[in-house]
Amino acid sequence: MNDRRAIGRALDAHLHLLDRQVLDRDDVPVTTVDDLELVGIELGAAIDRDAAPPRVTAILTGSDLATRIFGGRPPPSRRVRIPWELVAEIGTAIRLGVAGDTLDATWAERWVSDHIIGRIPGGRHDPE
């Protein structure tokens, strides 16, 4: 359901986005929102009053969970990003407008599926 009337809707990042379930367009779970990437904030720089406000540019997942709990900072390379443009709808879960297996956030799922579960007999059939 494409939520066009979302224009102008207010929501709080921590309350409504962090730790929410991310689903792909077929409602297959992709991952959980571990963190958000913001653009347009410069540490230490004086902000001009009528500069453009910062924007959410990506959902961060995977290694960020550890840093959010235990502190420290992951190397940018290991951070898994889901571009914010792919988000189609925000509700009790966040639905993307694309299929899950195109994202590198589902890399681990696909690896386990191809190398382990897929290899066990019956792994690819629907349960009868």
């Binding site: 730790d19 779970p29 991952t31 709990i69 009790t92 599926s113 897929g118 690819r124």
Partner: protein, 409 residues
């Protein structure tokens, strides 16, 4: 007519599904030491699990979000991780106890050493989780578990002195010959056995597996409100049998074989056969539920794809985590630890883990963002809050009591 059948099936499955190795052992142990003195705890626990299952079923059906997604979303990753850690370890403990229970039940039927049965039981659980449909699993184990009614029949056949039993049940305060701490330790253990967290993970994830709608919610309410109390009565019957046969002979229950002796005493081989089949089905069903619950908790916390309705390759990490849990359970049992001791620890620690999962569900059941207008009514919130207090007290008292009584010795 079909509707009536599905309703009956739902209730019967809830009865069979309610009793597991924790209920069997804890009620028999309590029956053999306190008679029906602790029956009131089972009633408190049954009402509690009805309230809890109702709320989590409704939350899952209306919001489409399962228990551990909500726990992580509402508590945040740190508290959520601690919650996951505790709930997952206790669920693994319960899974180990259930598989041990299946092996012990098979030993009763074949007198083959349970250590040989344990890998077979784990493999059987895996095959069922891997291939069978969700509804099929529930119905078969639930219906077969119904044969546990033989404990109630046996209680009647033993023709006990009913007012003596009633006297025990209505007795005020703790019996003189038992230290107060032991009485309350077993009260918490019995409460943990009746309100096992995995039942709620399984119940609410099942609501999503089967895509419950408002109509399914109505039938589920019936299943819970009729099935669980009858399951509770079954638990009391198990304690009753132990009270009538084992208590006078001052036999303290320490093994599953002692639990079934009263049934053999009452109804001979036929009754005993029913009891063994019932225990086998109840523990196997519970092993399935705890295996799935371990997969649900991990997948829902980390946001993996999960669900029995999906083919395994489409929920790969969900299935992989369950396979690993089964291996770990068999490894723990292979160390020769007594499954009955594992069971007693699992029910006590279930009581400890309860608030971790109950609190977020109670909050979300009142959150209009998730539930729209189906939020908790005033009545449900009142009883929900009363049970939050009871659950917190039980959780806080559980470990100190465990230490003081040295495991109820």
């Amino acid at each position: 007519m079909k509707r009536l059948f599905s309703v009956a099936l739902g209730i019967l499955t809830a009865i069979g599904g309610f009793v597991d190795i924790g209920d069997l052992v804890t009620n028999a142990v309590v029956g053999s030491r306190f008679g029906l003195g602790l029956a009131w705890v089972v009633l408190v626990g049954v009402v509690g699990i009805c309230v809890f299952a109702q709320m989590s079923g409704r939350v899952a059906a209306v919001s489409g979000r399962a228990t551990f997604e909500i726990i992580r979303e509402r508590l945040g990753p740190r508290a959520g991780l601690a919650n996951l850690g505790a709930s997952f370890l206790i669920n693994l403990l319960t899974l180990t106890a259930e598989i041990g229970g299946v092996a012990l039940a098979l030993q009763l039927a074949t007198s083959v050493d349970p250590l040989l049965w344990m890998p077979v039981a784990a493999f059987g659980v895996w095959i069922a989780v891997w291939r069978a449909r969700f509804r099929l699993l529930e119905n078969v184990t639930g219906l077969l578990g119904l044969t546990l009614i033989v404990f109630a029949v046996a209680l009647f056949m033993l023709a006990p002195d009913w007012n003596a039993l009633a006297g025990q049940a209505l007795q005020r305060g703790t019996p003189q010959d038992e230290p107060v701490a032991t009485y309350w330790f077993f009260a918490v253990a019995l409460f943990g056995a009746a309100m096992t967290p995995y039942e709620v993970f399984f119940f609410s994830s099942g609501a999503i597996e089967e895509r419950w709608t408002e109509k399914d919610l109505a039938t589920s309410r019936l299943n819970v409100l009729v099935g669980f109390p009858l399951g509770g009565l079954l638990s009391i019957a198990i304690a009753g049998c132990a009270a009538v046969v084992l208590l006078p002979a001052s036999i303290d229950v320490t093994s599953l074989s002692q639990v079934v002796l009263p049934v053999a005493d009452a109804g001979g081989k036929v009754a005993l056969a029913f009891a063994i089949v019932g225990i086998l089905a109840a523990t196997f069903g519970a092993a399935l539920e705890t295996t799935l619950s371990s997969g649900y908790t991990l997948a829902q916390y980390f946001g993996w794809s999960w669900g029995k309705f999906r083919r395994p390759a489409k929920a790969a990490r969900f299935h992989l985590s369950m396979i690993i849990c089964l291996f770990v359970a068999v490894a723990i049992l292979a160390t020769g630890v007594d499954p009955i001791v594992v069971t007693e620890f699992s029910v006590v620690f279930s009581a400890v883990a309860l608030p971790l999962t109950y609190l977020p569900i109670l909050i979300i059941a009142n959150d209009r963002e998730y539930m729209g207008d189906r939020v908790n009514g005033r009545g449900m919130n009142a009883i929900g809050t009363v049970y939050l207090v009871i659950i917190l007290i039980a959780a806080i008292a559980a470990i100190p009591l465990l230490i003081i009584t040295g495991g109820g010795a």
